[in-house]
Symmetry: C2
Subunit: 146 residues, 2 copies
């Protein structure tokens, strides 16, 4: 028994993620404006390495919710930009660990500041308790479907 109805197109934006598209575009624009020459997708990989350097590509797949080919090519491009380096694991030769370079580490502070500012632009006029509810709903949706 459905607990919600998709009526009158009011949930179109919800389903198509117009808000998150808008956030990604603004983040991209703000990074470019700040002289940070990476894509938002590359940012999402670096983000997890800043928290936890040396993740394997598979762990990056799980963390970023991207498939293996996507991570292969994102890491390819980040390597070309000299921001990360693949290191074959000694224990398990199937695994590449991905490590930040000095250059990659240096990006963290500035880039996270831009991300933080972008989020604040996005949330102007939204009470914090409503943001929390929204986050919870999106987390449940993600858990339902992932």
């Amino acid at each position: 028994m459905p607990n919600n109805q998709f009526k009158k197109g009011e949930l179109y934006s919800f389903m198509t993620g117009k808000a998150s598209t808008a956030i990604a575009r603004r983040l991209q624009k703000n990074m470019k404006h700040g002289g940070i020459e990476i894509t938002v997708e590359q940012w999402s990989v670096l983000y997890h390495l800043w928290k936890n350097d040396g993740l394997s590509q598979q762990e990056l797949c799980n963390a970023t919710f991207r498939d293996k080919p996507s991570i292969t090519r994102l890491v390819d491009n980040l390597e070309k930009l000299k921001l990360v380096k693949r290191v074959a694991s000694k224990n398990d030769r199937r695994i590449n660990q991905v490590f930040l370079t000095e250059q990659g580490r240096k990006l963290e502070e500035e880039t996270m500041m831009v991300a933080n500012n972008t989020l604040n632009e996005a949330l102007i006029g939204v009470p914090a308790d409503r943001v929390d509810i929204c986050k919870e709903v999106l987390q449940i949706v993600y858990d339902n479907l992932k």
Copy 2:
């Protein structure tokens, strides 16, 4: 003065739209499983034509929050699939109106049913009033950034 802080990565999912990615993937999977051979992006264009046939490409840009090249190519592909047809406007020869074909119209009922079911899968365990709050927050975010 920032009204929210981007702390401890808790808003990573919010910013990167993991929930809407999950919805889009599930919708794609459900359509394929139901024998509907279109992409979710093509669905988003057809959706607006079902509500309002004959929109111009520019109007489709506004409705779907995509840029002009994206709509050009989505309409290209929908035309190849014989689901829509471009018709040059008589009043203003710059404008293409996009009309559904009989085949395009026939997809509506089944496809909207699949979309509705997908949404219900996504929202299992979420009280309706929380969905409403989430929608409102996302609408404000979109309006802040669009």
